[in-house]
């Protein structure tokens, strides 16, 4: 009797998530072997591996995978290093620290679309952006950020948003550090680096793992920032795998090829997740 009631209690969440996963996944897999073009509905039927062939031989694929990795890696490295540094600075107690902290974490709550449009118009616009203004003051050439350095521009936008996230987690984690241990180390004559290397870093191991993993999940699917700024261009310079597949699906209307791309994206995500969990588990094992 008891067991039945718990099956009933657990069923909705498990069944819904299972449907949410299996149905679209199955359809993606099915479509990936079909000829399915929204503009040419008369062309249908089994396509064999031709969708995969088309997607995998697309010269943009290699670029987009590389861009995705650069994007994910770049943002994670920048946000973890900055987040670590700032969280250590904020260890110092002073009046007004609460306000400083609130100002520092605010970017995390900004919508991705607002974030990207803000940077695009406010800073990176070559005609009236603040970066252009600063360049002019110092007599430097004006950079058209989104056209010349599109990927870096997006990395900057994302880092601005996600450094506060890393900071938030590190600050919380640092609060639980053993103060007596630190004092003991100081009495022993440990300098800043020694304390950082042997006390702070190991303590933060788990927090860093969490930050890296959550960011990887979010940044593998970066979409809005590209959608409202570069549109994946110029050329394929800021196309990530998400954007490449999106383009096949909703701009080229080719469901078959887009689905083959989707299967590819799932495989890539799983490989990255596998390595991540392995590394993170190692980091947390200490």
């Amino acid at each position: 009797m008891k067991i039945n009631i718990h099956k009933i209690l657990q069923a909705p969440s498990i069944i819904l998530l299972l449907l949410w996963m299996i149905v679209p996944l199955g359809m993606t897999l099915y479509f990936s072997f079909q000829r399915y073009h929204l503009l040419y509905p008369e062309r249908s039927g089994f396509a064999g591996l031709s969708n995969y062939d088309f997607f995998l031989t697309d010269p943009a694929l290699g670029v987009s995978v590389l861009n995705t990795l650069t994007l994910v890696g770049g943002v994670i490295v920048i946000s973890v290093i900055l987040g670590l540094g700032i969280s250590l600075l904020l260890q110092e107690a002073f009046r007004g620290r609460g306000i400083i902290r609130i100002l520092l974490i605010s970017p995390f709550f900004i919508m991705p679309t607002v974030n990207a449009l803000m940077w695009k118009n406010m800073f990176m616009n070559p005609a009236y952006g603040l970066f252009a203004y600063i360049s002019e003051i110092f007599g430097l050439p004006v950079v058209n950020w989104l056209a010349e350095l599109p990927l870096l521009s997006i990395i900057i936008m994302l880092s601005w948003q996600w450094t506060p996230f890393a900071l938030l987690i590190f600050m919380t984690s640092l609060q639980s550090m053993d103060q007596e241990q630190i004092e003991a180390a100081e009495i022993e004559g440990a300098g800043f680096w020694a304390k950082f290397r042997y006390l702070t870093l190991p303590h933060l191991g788990r927090a860093i793992g969490v930050v890296v993993m959550i960011q990887a999940i979010f940044h593998l699917g970066v979409f809005a920032e590209i959608y409202v700024t570069t549109g994946g261009g110029p050329g394929h310079d800021s196309t990530n795998t998400t954007w490449l597949i999106f383009k096949q699906a909703l701009l080229a209307f080719d469901v078959g090829v887009a689905s083959a791309g989707g299967v590819f994206a799932i495989i890539v995500a799983n490989i990255i997740a596998f390595f991540l969990i392995k590394t993170v588990a190692k980091g947390m094992g200490k």
Binding site: V23, I105, K120, N121, G261
Partner: protein, 278 residues
């Protein structure tokens, strides 16, 4: 002259404080500037060199307010965020309760599997979801958004609630059972009051994530169910033309959730890390 230890410490303290202030200004500056721009005229907004002092105008806000679109988009954001969060919580509470207090052989595996659904790239299932929504005439409706956002946040909420319920001592539940409480009464009168903090932090996190979600909200909505993220995205096309109005719209779109985030930051950390970082 030798600088004393005390002085050294003071200099170090002051440098640190100064560095924190500078960093805070840098990180907050874009938001500040956006809010500032929302009070400028369109001409001032793209003036070069940029203007810092000017006669503020509320024109942008009144234009956006008059534009009934804004209210509609805001309402859509509120309804979908709250709706999806409520749905996910309602589904998750009984399950998490049952898994936390009556774990089966596969409970841990089920939880891990649930989390792994978050690893599934959204774009990989874009076409199926799009077509399913189209076939069932749910494209551009709030219902489909509520369902999708709920499914996206369900794994995180499950983990969070599971972690919170685990911390409730089993003895309390056993005592209530001795008094003859049914399972539903147990959840209603014992578990819910005790885990209120955990449920609240799960809900807060879910609301923030829903509010800022910008894949499905952009791709599955148009005129009817468009949320604020979609509204802001729609401004991206005419390059810089409406920068001041866009700033006003962005300010209105972000202000609620940013203020919300300020108050909820502690709970959000617990939510984001499944309580693993304390």
């Amino acid at each position: 002259m030798i600088i004393g230890y005390r002085n050294m410490k003071r200099i170090k303290h002051q440098t640190t404080v100064l560095a924190c202030c500078i960093l805070a200004v840098i990180f907050f500056f874009p938001i500040f500037w956006m809010v500032l721009t929302s009070f400028k005229t369109e001409l001032q907004a793209i003036q070069f060199p940029p203007v810092l002092f000017f006669e503020p105008t509320l024109e942008n806000f009144s234009i956006i307010n008059e534009n009934s679109d804004y209210t509609k988009h805001a309402l859509n954001s509120i309804i979908t965020s709250l709706g999806a969060t409520a749905l996910a919580i309602i589904i998750a509470v009984p399950s998490a309760y049952s898994m936390a207090f009556f774990p089966g052989r596969y409970t841990k595996d089920i939880l891990l599997w649930m989390l792994s659904t978050k690893m599934l790239p959204a774009v990989a299932v874009l076409m199926p979801i799009y077509l399913l929504a189209q076939w069932s005439n749910l494209l551009d409706t709030r219902i489909v958004l509520i369902f999708i956002l709920a499914m996206m946040n369900l794994p995180i909420i499950m983990w969070l609630l599971f972690a919170y319920f685990k911390e409730i001592p089993k003895e309390i539940l056993e005592a209530s059972r001795m008094d003859g409480a049914s399972t539903m009464e147990e959840i209603r009168y014992v578990v819910l009051p005790l885990a209120w903090g955990g449920i609240a932090s799960a809900a807060l996190l879910s609301i923030v994530l829903c509010w800022n979600e910008a894949f499905w909200t952009i791709l599955l909505t148009a005129a009817d169910a468009g949320t604020l993220t979609a509204l802001v995205a729609s401004y991206s096309m005419p390059e810089g033309l409406f920068w001041a109005k866009l700033s006003a719209a962005s300010t209105l779109a972000c202000a609620p959730i940013v203020v919300f985030g300020w108050f909820a930051q502690k709970q959000l950390v617990q939510g984001l890390t499944f309580g693993a970082v304390k």
